[in-house]
């Protein structure tokens, strides 16, 4: 018998739920109520979409990468959804713009967030500056070192970046610390979770705000190619950019969807879906990297944004139903894919997004002529320069 009920708040199949301390439950109810109102409020939608357009620069382009097509064997047609061209350099801003409007509706004057690669932290600091709210970002000490430029950006916009020294000092520990802050300050503070993880209603809210990626990409590819893509590829850490682009194609049975987890190196991996099993971490029931005693295992990836032992509950459901196929790419493959795109296209992708590119290369090799592969280029790689230089010297 499972003690995880199939029916309950915020389920994706059996996954999801609200596994948090009682102190937070009223805060989650408030968020759910305010989000339900906002979702059906035309004024909210107008304001959100105006910000996406005028502040973040949406719609982001869909770019046919002909140089990389040749690099990948010349058969497949490769389109990149350029989320890296958003303001702040990644898809994370989509979610943050929506959530800061929710914070304002709830009258919360302070934002907290966790960050791994720093992209979500930067996006949160950005919307906090825009809205005039106080902002605290928790970041693992290890990540502060490897993503130093993003720490400087957050601080420049007035956010307080708090180093997290517990555990592996990466995203998992930063998330735990952000939750502890929220438990303490729930009356005044809105917690902007950066991915489709956490307790209900977060996985739904973040998915809905990121769905703009898939909506745009679907229209753009129909206009550009005259048909739907054969395959869509996105990297999966918590899984928000993937859910965002997949959501545009979930109902199209002919479109194959691929989520790419971090296969890491001999130091470990971050493949919760491919190598983990269901469990509870940070508020939801989902696939999880854990040991035989139910302790959460440290993740490893060269991409700080994928360096997380859990994954969003909707991905767990999509894995079990078979609608999305999940696979892994190693650190080395991601680094090579990053270098290829930089050299061939003049685009430096984030190491996270490079996982999707490396997998697209595998799909493209031996593909029948004319196969269309759509890759979500979720962020840009400027933040990774120190990791990239370090890897080049090894």
């Amino acid at each position: 018998m499972s003690i995880i009920a199939r029916t309950g708040p915020g389920r994706f199949g059996v996954y999801g739920g609200q596994f948090v301390p009682e102190t937070l439950m009223p805060g989650l109810s408030e968020l759910e109520r305010v989000y339900d109102e906002a979702r059906s409020d035309p004024e909210f939608q107008v304001e959100f979409h105006a910000l996406l357009k005028d502040y973040s620069g949406r719609p982001t382009p869909l770019y046919r990468a002909r140089n990389i097509e040749r690099e990948y064997g010349g058969q497949a047609v490769i389109y990149l959804k350029r989320e890296d061209l958003n303001h702040t350099g990644a898809h994370k801003i989509n979610n943050c713009l929506g959530q800061v409007l929710l914070a304002r509706r709830m009258g919360k004057m302070r934002l907290v967030a966790e960050t791994g690669a720093g992209q979500h932290g930067v996006a949160t600091a950005t919307v906090a500056a825009w809205a005039g709210l106080e902002c605290t970002v928790y970041m693992g000490e290890v990540d502060m070192e490897r993503q130093a430029p993003n720490v400087a950006r957050m601080e420049m916009m007035g956010a307080k970046v708090v180093p997290v020294l517990s555990g592996a000092r990466t995203l998992k520990d930063a998330t735990s610390e952000a939750i502890r802050d929220w438990v303490t300050n729930v009356d005044t503070t809105h917690y902007i979770i950066g991915s489709v993880v956490g307790p209900h209603p977060y996985p739904t809210i973040v998915r809905d705000f990121q769905a703009v990626i898939g909506t745009e990409a679907r229209e753009q590819i129909l206009a550009a190619a005259g048909r739907l893509p054969d395959q869509v590829v996105a990297c999966v850490g918590g899984g928000s950019n993937a859910i965002g682009i997949f959501s545009g194609f979930l109902a199209d049975d002919g479109v194959e969807l691929f989520g790419v987890e971090a296969g890491g190196s001999n130091q470990g991996h971050a493949a919760a879906l491919c190598l983990g099993e269901p469990g509870v971490l940070h508020g939801s029931y989902s696939y999880l990297m854990q040991d035989d005693d139910g302790q959460v295992l440290p993740a490893h990836s060269i991409a700080a944004g994928l360096d997380y032992p859990g994954v969003g509950p909707e991905h767990s459901h999509l894995k079990d139903t078979g609608r999305v196929r999940y696979d892994t790419v190693t650190d080395a493959e991601a680094l090579a894919a990053c270098a290829d795109l930089a050299r061939r296209e003049g685009i430096i992708p984030a190491l996270e997004s490079s996982h999707a590119l490396a997998f697209a290369r595998k799909l493209a090799s031996g593909a029948p002529a004319g196969r269309i592969i759509l890759v979500n280029l979720s962020g840009r790689g400027d933040k990774d320069m120190s990791s990239l230089e370090g890897a080049a010297h090894e």
Binding site: I4, A5, F19, R180, V183, H282, D292, G294
Partner: protein, 272 residues
């Protein structure tokens, strides 16, 4: 219902009805080490406490502050597993006659297997279970499973819990209600005035009420016990263990501290 849950229900109620107060110390299983933990059990029993909360270490304790986080990590580093936690619970019950409440996060229980865990709790003589990341909305299946085995799943209430919600939590609660004193994690700043909150709990629920989180000294414990039926002390106790030179000194410090707290609670009982 089995003897163990009846034991905790009846014990807590009898205490309340006779005006006696419940002091519930919290120890992390296997902390500071296995032998040191046994010494702490002796110290708890020698101080006159009857109920003990034992923390099952978890890698990601989101409801806990730095002191209990560090204790959990140290216990995990020394190889504490769920099996070993249950053996330590049995030791507390059998050797010292303590009523044992286990406190731990959901994932290790899921991984152990909830049915197997419930059976093992009964075997070890455990009376109650607290799962801080299992709120009322998600707790019914585990509560039923534990109740079949005679273990009370204790509900937590928080200052943010609305009165209507308190009533529905109270309807299903076993053992006693655990009132979280303040919004925050364990070991944070002490509670403010709880008069209104405790009054709201009393009005909505019938069970005895114990207050935990931030009860750091004898005076605070006594103040809390003027309103509620008991107090839980965790971080303040473990801090004394962490600061002690060795496990023997830690046990002495724990015994001394709990004796002081019990005296302070008793003194306020006489003066009120």
């Amino acid at each position: 219902m089995s003897e163990a849950a009846l034991r905790l229900d009846a014990f807590a109620r009898e205490r309340r009805d006779t005006g006696g107060k419940l002091l519930v110390p919290f120890l992390t299983a296997g902390y500071p080490d296995r032998e040191g933990f046994s010494l702490l059990l002796e110290a708890v029993a020698a101080s006159g406490c009857k109920v003990l909360e034992i923390g099952m270490p978890f890698s990601d304790p989101v409801a806990d502050g730095p002191v209990i986080q560090a204790a959990s990590q140290q216990a995990l580093d020394r190889g504490v597993t769920m099996r070993r936690v249950l053996a330590m619970a049995a030791e507390a019950r059998e050797r010292h006659g303590l009523q044992v409440i286990l406190m731990g996060y959901l994932n290790p229980v899921l991984k152990f297997g909830p049915e197997k865990f419930a059976a093992a709790c009964t075997e070890a003589g455990v009376s109650g279970l607290i799962v801080p990341d299992l709120p009322h909305e998600e707790s019914a299946p585990l509560r039923a499973l534990m109740a079949e085995r005679g273990v009370a799943l204790i509900e937590l209430l928080a200052p943010t819990t609305g009165t209507g919600r308190m009533a529905s939590l109270g309807r299903s609660a076993r053992g006693f209600l655990y009132l979280v004193s303040t919004t925050g994690v364990t070991g944070a700043g002490g509670p403010g005035d709880l008069t209104d909150t405790v009054a709201r709990v009393r009005a909505a629920c019938d069970q005895p009420v114990c207050v935990g989180f931030g009860i750091s000294d004898p005076g605070t414990a006594a103040r809390v016990c003027r309103l509620a039926d008991g107090a839980v002390i965790g971080s303040a106790l473990l801090r004394r263990v962490a600061e002690a030179a060795d496990p023997t000194a830690a046990a002495a410090a724990v015994k001394e501290f709990l004796t002081e707290v019990r005296a302070a609670i008793a003194a306020q009982g006489e003066s009120s």
